[in-house]
C-alpha cells in the first residue's frame, strides 16, 4: 500500500514537472527599433523558434524611451525585457531594484569592458548591455572635396578655412540640426570632449558628484563654435529649425557638402548617389590632440520579475549566437568580444574605427554622463545661443546651474 502510494506520488510529481516544462511563457519585450521594426520582430521570432516555450510580445518603442518606461516603472508594470540607454535613468532603476544586475550573465562576459561603465550604476550594478559601439563623425561628398581641392582638416582652424572655401563656391558647408536634440550627439558632444573632457578626464564622476565646473570659457566655447558656424553662413539656410530627419534628407539630396552625424546613420548616409567619405570631427584647437567620441548605443536590460530567467536567456542570445541577426539588420559597430556570427560593417567605418581606437583619450556621448534633468537643455540652450537670446557664456552658466541642481535633488 505504502509502495503504491509512493509510486503514485512520483507519477503525479513527474506529470506536474512535465506540464510545467511544457508551459509556455510570454515575455513582454519593449525595444527601441523604429529603424528596424520588421527585422527586430524577425529575430525575436527566431529566438522563439529556438526556444519554443518562450513566446515574445514585442512592443516597438519608436522614440523617447524614458518617457515610455517611467510610467511602467511607477506602476510596477515593467516589460520583462527592455531597451535601455546608458546613463542615470537606468542606473536609478537598478538601484531601486526595478532592473536586475546583469554582471554575471553571459552577455556581460561577452561584452567589451569599454562600454560597461556607461551602464553601471553608482552602486556598481550593471543595469544594461550596450547594443553596440557608437561615435559621431563628419560625412562628406568626396567629389566636391576633389573639385575644390580640399582635404579633411585636422583642427578647428583648418575646418573653418575649409568651410569658407565651400561657402565661396556657393555651397552649404555643413548641416547642423538644432531643431531637435540630435545635435547634442555632434557639436555639443565633440565640443565638450575637446574643450572640457580633455581637461577633466574624470568628467563623468564630476557630473555625478556635482563638482563639474561648467560656468567656464571652455564650456562656453562648446556653444560658441556652433554659433560661429551659423553666423558665418557655413550652415544650411533655416538651420535653427532643421531637425534630424530633415538634415539627413538634405545631405542625401546633395544640398550640403558635409553632414555631421552618428555612426548609426552610416547605413543611410554612405549609400548616397554620390561618393561619401568620412573623417574625424576636428573640434580640437591647432596643436592639440583630438578627443574623439567612443560611446554606447541603446542597449538592453532585464526587469525584476517572474520571467527574469527567460529574459536573461533572450539577453544572452542577442549578445551571443543571435547577435548577427540584430547586427546585420542595423549595420552598427559590434560591442562583443565574440560576435559569434557574420558581421556586416562598411569598409569606410572599419577604417575609421581603426583610427579611432588608436586614440588614448576619448569621451562619451552627452546622454551617458549629463544628469537626466538637463538632457533637453543641451539643445534648448544651443537654440537660444543661435537666436541671440543668450550669449555662449550665459548658456554655460545656465547649464552649470541646472546640472548642479539636478545633483542636489
Amino acid at each position: 500500500m505504502r509502495k503504491m502510494f509512493v509510486m503514485m506520488l512520483t507519477l503525479l510529481l513527474a506529470l506536474g514537472i512535465a506540464s510545467a516544462t511544457a508551459q509556455k511563457i510570454t515575455l513582454t519585450c519593449a525595444m527601441m527599433a523604429g529603424d528596424i521594426p520588421e527585422q527586430t520582430q524577425a529575430f525575436l521570432d527566431q529566438f522563439s523558434k529556438e526556444n519554443p516555450n518562450i513566446q515574445i510580445d514585442f512592443t516597438n518603442v519608436a522614440q523617447d524611451l524614458e518617457v515610455y518606461l517611467q510610467p511602467k516603472a511607477a506602476s510596477g508594470e515593467m516589460p520583462d525585457f527592455i531597451s535601455v540607454n546608458g546613463g542615470s535613468f537606468g542606473a536609478d532603476l537598478v538601484d531601486r531594484g526595478i532592473l536586475i544586475d546583469l554582471k554575471d550573465t553571459f552577455a556581460a562576459k561577452n561584452t567589451v569592458d569599454a562600454v560597461k561603465p556607461q551602464f553601471t550604476s553608482p552602486k556598481g550594478k550593471l543595469f544594461g548591455i550596450a547594443g553596440g559601439v557608437s561615435t559621431s563623425l563628419i560625412y562628406y561628398q568626396v567629389q566636391a572635396f576633389k573639385d575644390l581641392g580640399l582635404v579633411p582638416p585636422e583642427n578647428w582652424e583648418d575646418f573653418l578655412v575649409l568651410c569658407e572655401k565651400i561657402k565661396k563656391a556657393g555651397k552649404t558647408a555643413i548641416i547642423i540640426t538644432p531643431g531637435d536634440g540630435t545635435m547634442s550627439n555632434t557639436l555639443w558632444s565633440h565640443g565638450f570632449a575637446n574643450n572640457v573632457a580633455s581637461k577633466y578626464p574624470d568628467y563623468a564622476k564630476r557630473f555625478r558628484e556635482g563638482t563639474m565646473q561648467l560656468d567656464s570659457p571652455e564650456f562656453a566655447d562648446v556653444y560658441a563654435k556652433g554659433k560661429l558656424l551659423f553666423d558665418k553662413g557655413y550652415t544650411q539656410p533655416g538651420a535653427v529649425s532643421t531637425t534630424y530627419m530633415d538634415g539627413n534628407q538634405m545631405y542625401i539630396q546633395g544640398k550640403s557638402v558635409q553632414q555631421f552625424a552618428g555612426s548609426w546613420l552610416a547605413g543611410m548616409l554612405l549609400k548616397t548617389d554620390f561618393e561619401t567619405g568620412v573623417y574625424m570631427p576636428p573640434w580640437n584647437a591647432k596643436g592639440k590632440t583630438k578627443i574623439p567620441i567612443v560611446a554606447t548605443e541603446t542597449g538592453w536590460g532585464v526587469s525584476e520579475g517572474p520571467h527574469k530567467k527567460q529574459a536573461i536567456m533572450l539577453l544572452d542570445w542577442i549578445n551571443g549566437k543571435g547577435f548577427h541577426y540584430y547586427q546585420n539588420a542595423r549595420g552598427n559597430i559590434p560591442h562583443l568580444k565574440d560576435p559569434m556570427g557574420p558581421v556586416v560593417l562598411d569598409e569606410r567605418i572599419k577604417k575609421y574605427l581603426d583610427k579611432l581606437y588608436s586614440y588614448k583619450q576619448t569621451a562619451g556621448l552627452w546622454f551617458e554622463y549629463i544628469p537626466a534633468e538637463t538632457m533637453t537643455l543641451t539643445f534648448q540652450l544651443y537654440q537660444e545661443v543661435l537666436t541671440n537670446q543668450k550669449t555662449p557664456r550665459e548658456a554655460a552658466a545656465a547649464f552649470d546651474k541646472a546640472a548642479r541642481e539636478a545633483v542636489k535633488k
Binding site: 523617447d64 524614458e66 518617457v67 517611467q70 510610467p71 516603472a73 511607477a74 535613468f89 536609478d92 532603476l93 531601486r96 526595478i98 538644432p178 531643431g179 531637435d180 544650411q236 539656410p237 533655416g238 538651420a239 535653427v240 529649425s241 532643421t242 530633415d246 537626466a372 534633468e373 538637463t374 538632457m375 533637453t376 534648448q380 540652450l381 537654440q383 537660444e384 543661435l386 537666436t387 537670446q389 543668450k390 545656465a398 535633488k409
Partner: protein, 299 residues
Amino acid sequence: MPGAVFSQARRRQIACLLFTIPALAVVGLFFLFPMLRALVLSFTSWDGIARTWQWVGLKNFKAVVTDSTFRQISFNTVYLAIIYVPVLNVIALLLAVAVYNAGKAGNLYKAMLFFPNLLSMTVIAMIWSIIYRYDGILNQFLKAVGLKALMQDWLGQIRTVLPAMSVTIIWFAVGYYLLIYLAGLNTVPVEIYESAEVEGVSPWQKLTRITIPLIAPAITINAVLSTIGIITLFDLPFVLTRGGPGFKSQTIAMHVYAYAYQQLRTRYALALAVILGVFAVLITTVLLAFLRRREEAAQ
C-alpha cells in the same frame, strides 16, 4: 400607495440616482480620483516611480514659479490666448455669416472649413512644418512671386515662431467654431432680418445690432472653449517646434510634459499642472461671468 416605504417622487429620485451611478463611477475613477491624487502628490516629494514620498508643502510650487523658464512659458501661453481667442472668434463669426448667406454653396464651404478637424493635431503639425521650413511651400511661394527678401526660417526665429503657430491653430480650429456660430445663426428668426431689410439696415448694422446680440450664447460657448483649448495647448507646438527656439514657443502644458518625462521631475510637473488647472478655471470663470452679463444685457 398605502404601506409604501417611499413616495413616488422619492422612488423616482432613487431611480435617477441609481442610473447615474455607472457614469459617476467612471468619472470618479478615471477623472476625479486621478485629479485629486495629482493634487495631493503635488505637495509631496514623489519622484514618479517610488511607492513612498514625503510631504513638502509648497516647495514644489515655489520651485516651479521661480524657475527661469516660468515667465517665458506663461508669456507664451497668455500671448497665444490673447491672439488666438479674439482673432479666431472674429474670423469664425464672419465666415459663419458668409456661409449662412451663401445659399447652396454653404454646405461645400462648411465641409472645406471643417476638414482640418478631421485630421489629428499631429498630422496638422507635420503638414505645417513642411509649409514653414526654409525650403518649404511658403518660402517657395514667396520666391515665385518675387518676394525672395521675405523668405525666412519661420519656426526658427523668435519674432515669427508664435505668429506662425497662431496661424496654424486658427486654420485648424476655425471650422469647428464656425459650426457653433452657424447653429446660433439658425436660431435667429428670419423675420427679424427681413424686417431689417425693409427698414434699410446696413449689413454692418445687421451684424452688430441683430446677429451678435442674438447669438450671444454661441459667442460665450466659443470664447470659453477656445480659451480652454489654447491654455492647455500641447500637441501642436510639441510636434511643430518642440517649444523652440529655446523656450520661445513652449506652452505651460508642454512644460508639464517636459518636467515629467524629459527632466524626470514628476513633482514639479504635478505642481505646474495644478497651477495650469487653477489658471484655466479662474480665466474661464471670469470670462463666463463677463460674457453672461453681456448676454443678459443683450436680451
